[in-house]
């Protein structure tokens, strides 16, 4: 049973399955230049009723799961307190530091400001999900090779952000990496090593897509 959120057996009215699927269609349509929003959906007026304990299905590190959670539950708290995936760190809870960065559907985001309720159908990847059977991800190895950390607390967030940074195409030069890695504070000041690590791993991450 859920520890963080609610942690009770209260179950409010559920979001209808139909509503969720339609939500997913809109989500899929959210690509640039595509306008499957309002008008197309206007006729599909199945109004999902609100719930303080919605049920949501999602995958974390490739594992699909369904949970009924207090609507307030953030991805960060769910990972750490419920799933014991404590590699994702909590540094501020207000998206001011980047320690909690994970990938959602491939894009880096702050898990502290992400509600679980919004993750229907989403794929979440955390630091625990990027190494393969004990083989480090190239970005992880690059952080070791370049001493891209000291205390190590911001490191999982830095690494997830660095992977996102490369995939976004913002790792072209040291100044660009510095700017596009500035959403991850490192109080120890390992920035020089972090930039070197991103440069080292860039090509491998790009090839892996």
């Amino acid at each position: 049973m859920a520890k963080t959120p609610g942690g009770t057996n209260r179950e409010g009215p559920r979001v209808s399955r139909r509503g969720l699927l339609q939500g997913s269609v809109a989500s899929g349509a959210a690509a640039l230049g595509n306008f499957a929003g309002g008008a197309a959906q206007a006729q599909a007026d199945a109004q999902a009723t609100g719930s303080t304990t919605p049920t949501v299905s999602f995958s974390i590190n490739g594992k699909t799961q369904t949970a009924t959670l207090d609507a307030r539950t953030t991805l960060l708290d769910y990972l750490r307190e419920d799933l014991d995936l404590t590699g994702t760190k909590v540094g501020c809870n207000h998206a001011q530091c980047g320690a909690c960065t994970v990938l959602i559907d491939g894009a880096r985001v702050n898990s502290c400001l992400t509600l679980m309720a919004t993750l229907e159908g989403s794929e979440v990847t955390t630091i625990e999900g990027i190494s393969d059977e004990g083989e480090l991800h190239p970005m992880q190895q690059a952080f070791i090779d370049n001493d891209g950390f000291q205390c190590g607390y911001c490191t999982p967030g830095q690494i997830m952000s660095a992977i996102g940074c490369v995939r976004e195409g913002h790792a072209g030069s040291a100044p660009e990496i510095r700017e596009y890695m500035s959403g991850n504070l490192c109080r120890c000041g390992a920035y020089k090593g972090i930039v070197a690590a991103v440069e080292q791993a860039r090509d491998q991450v790009e090839e892996a897509g």
Binding site: D70, D84, T88, N93, G152, R178, N184, L185, Y191, I194
Partner: protein, 721 residues
């Protein structure tokens, strides 16, 4: 060998995979969650607490406050030889002594419930106007005459000078803001208590928690194997830690507390603001005559805490006469504490700005002015340095920086729309050590294990301890396993004052010498299989208690008492400091006056370096802290009610990746056989020292505006409207 191999961190794989367990990462089954409630007034008393809304939140188990206190006593204050961050405990009365003080603790089944309940507490206060900042009425100055230094006739020496600087420098309050949130998880098994808490001092925390709970210290175990940044902020026992343990005992369940980022600004320690009156005179040819440095430092009403940097600024250069002093300014604030280079960061901003001001008055290259006043023995008592490579550092950094192109003219250089300025400053940190015990197990397979209640706060302690053990035993580094950060281990030192490496390595070398002595081996000829065959045992274990040579009998006894004993720096028979030189290039936009630091180059000499890579990272990290100190960091207090208005990490600005451009630390070789058996000086703090002055000096060079406070902001350099 003076520079150790750049071995990658042996804990690196754990850290990059998210497998290193920091305090809040330990699983304790299904804990209850606690949340702090903090005061919203700066002085006064709690008149009523309405917890009805809080208790109405589903799953709330308890609301503790002064009206329903937990059985926790106050441990002795750290600054008075104890372990606690302050001398009083929350809930001991209805009094509110500063804004953000703990006035309640909520315990609930869920984290979400605890948070909601804490924010639903309605606390009423009888409010008074606090005296929270310099200039407020009602501050209480406390002179500390025995903390000052005096040599010669300062007035006469000042009169004998041909140029002098007499200025007041101020530094604002700073907050550590380690990336890891403060937390505590407490779990009881019968009357045995385990506490997971981010700590730079597990021994002291265990002893202090026992003291606060009134139980036997042997029943308390503090676990903190990985610390998400310390910087001094986790060196003294937090007020909430024993409270969480008491709540766990009361509830019969493990209890976990996250302290919010905002609460971390007020419920832990900080670097207090200072005002420093500084005087320095020189003869026409640059020889210093008189030196005076008087500090005023904010502290709480109850606790006398000063960092008193004049004790160290007075040791830097030649002087005919010296006078220093410090005044503790008691205010309605929380008690300050250690923060990276506690005395040196603020006081060397004044000294090294002042020396630069004098260099301009003398029309003398600031590097040469320091060379003229370089010394072999500190000037106050004439005690020699164990080693001093200050000018070697200046020369190495100056060459790399290209200082020979320096022109002592304001605004001499521009690049595009940016004014460019150069500045330099001295860095230093006293070499300190503490008593330390270590146990080493070594077996016939060639594997060694090292246990010590020391800490890796990002310094690389795991790696350096493994290297030191491997080197002393004569085995590969990857044959050594290290356990740290647990109060059940042999007592190590506090991770503060840059003492860990010197103390650990000295103790390790002692234990390994005992092993070699018993086995008849040496590092050079070590062949584990043959050695153990000849020894006739499958393994050997040695325990060593290392006491620094300068330690008093009293200090030596602290080892098992959870007390801190630090020796070093300016001692009776030796003066031990590491030195460095910082060179900064700044750019100031010609219109909007933002200040950026495109280049920062430091050179440091700190005796034997155990690991080139982790040492360099320490220096670079300290220099980045210097950028923050110079240009960004300011804990902003509203004078009306003592509230910290930027108690978050979006408006309390620390440097981002983009704030750091060309950054380099040069490791200047130095051998010091006198400082300690290991020949090691501390490196954790020196990187921040002098950086702010180097940047301020460069700002002057670029703009002609001398800013005598930190941080320096655009408004300090703008033309008037």
């Amino acid at each position: 060998m003076s520079i150790g191999n750049p071995v990658h961190r042996i804990d690196g794989k754990l850290k990059v995979t998210g497998s290193a367990n920091y305090a809040a990462d330990f699983s304790v089954g299904t804990p209850l969650y606690a949340e702090l409630v903090t005061s919203t007034v700066g002085l006064g008393r709690v008149t009523s607490i309405d917890d009805s809304a809080a208790r109405a939140v589903p799953g709330v188990r308890a609301v503790y406050s002064h009206a329903n206190p937990l059985p926790v006593d106050a441990a002795d204050f750290f600054g008075a030889g104890g372990r606690a961050q302050q001398s009083w405990r929350p809930f001991e009365s209805a009094d509110v002594r500063f804004n953000g003080e703990i006035v309640g603790l909520v315990v609930a089944d869920t984290l979400i419930g605890a948070r909601e309940a804490a924010r639903s507490m309605r606390v009423q206060y009888e409010e008074q106007d606090p005296a929270a900042v310099f200039g407020a009425s009602g501050l209480e100055p406390e002179d500390l005459p025995d903390r000052g230094l005096s040599m010669g006739d300062i007035e006469q020496a000042m009169e004998a000078s041909s140029q002098r600087v007499e200025e007041t420098y101020t530094t604002y309050a700073n907050t550590h803001n380690a990336m890891e949130l403060f937390s505590t998880t407490a779990q009881w098994a019968g009357d045995e208590l385990t506490v997971y808490v981010p700590s730079q001092w597990v021994e002291g925390f265990a002893a202090g928690i026992a003291e606060e709970l009134g139980i036997d210290a042997a029943r308390v175990r503090v676990v903190s194997p990985y610390v998400g940044g310390g910087f001094g902020g986790k060196g003294s026992l937090f007020t909430w830690t024993a409270m969480v343990a008491a709540a766990a005992r009361d509830q019969g369940r493990p209890v976990k507390l996250y302290v919010t980022r905002e609460q971390g600004f007020t419920t832990a320690s900080y670097r207090a603001e200072t005002e420093q009156d500084f005087r320095l005179g020189a003869t026409a040819d640059g020889r210093f005559t008189g030196f005076e440095h008087q500090g005023r430092e904010i502290s709480s009403r109850a606790d006398t805490y000063v960092v008193n940097g004049g004790e160290n600024t007075a040791r830097m250069y030649h002087a005919d006469a010296v006078r220093t002093g410090v005044t503790c300014i008691h205010a309605d604030r929380q008690t300050p504490g250690f923060m990276r280079a506690p005395p040196e960061a603020p006081y060397f901003f004044a000294l090294e700005s002042g020396v630069d001001e004098l260099a301009w008055k003398l029309s003398m290259d600031p590097v040469e002015l320091r060379r003229i006043n370089d010394i072999d023995a500190e000037p106050v008592n004439g005690v020699p340095f164990t080693s001093r490579s200050l000018m070697e550092c200046y020369d190495a950094a100056a060459e790399r920086f290209g200082w020979s192109d320096y022109e002592q003219t304001v605004g001499a250089r521009t690049e595009g729309d940016w004014l460019v300025g150069w500045g330099c400053a001295t860095a230093t940190y006293p070499t300190q050590m503490g008593p330390c015990a270590v146990r080493i197990h070594f077996d016939a397979t060639g594997q060694a294990r090292v246990w010590v209640a020391s800490h890796d706060v990002g310094t690389g302690a795991y790696t350096v301890i493994a290297q030191a053990t491997a080197l002393a035993l004569g085995i590969p580094v990857d044959s050594v396993k290290v356990e740290l950060g647990d109060s059940r281990l042999p007592p190590g030192t506090i991770a503060g004052g840059s003492i860990s490496t010197a103390s650990n390595v000295s103790a390790i070398e002692m234990a390994v010498a005992q092993i070699h002595d018993r086995m008849g081996t040496t590092a050079e000829t070590m062949d584990p299989t043959a050695a153990f065959e000849a020894f006739g045992q499958r393994a050997i274990e040695e325990y060593a208690e290392w006491i620094p040579p300068a330690a008093s009998r009293q200090q030596a006894k602290t080892l098992y008492n959870g007390k801190v004993a630090i020796v070093g720096g300016a001692e009776e028979d030796y003066t031990a400091f590491a030195f460095g030189a910082q060179f900064a290039e700044v750019r100031v936009h010609k219109y909007t006056r933002e200040i950026r630091v495109p280049r920062l180059i430091g050179a440091f000499a700190a005796g034997r370096i155990m690991n080139e890579q982790t040492a360099r990272s320490q220096y670079l990290g300290g220099m980045i802290w210097g950028i923050g100190h110079a240009l960004l960091e300011k804990t902003e207090v509203d004078p009306r009610n003592g509230k910290i208005v930027n108690a978050n990490i979006a408006e309390y600005l620390v440097p981002t990746n983009a704030d750091v451009q060309e950054l380099e630390a040069i490791l200047v070789p130095e051998t010091d056989t006198k400082v300690n058996p290991a020949g090691v000086k501390g490196i954790g703090e020196i990187g921040i020292v002098g950086t702010a002055a180097a940047i301020a000096n460069a700002v002057y060079h670029a703009t002609g505006t001398r800013v005598r406070h930190t941080p320096i902001h655009v408004e300090d350099l703008l033309p008037q409207a």
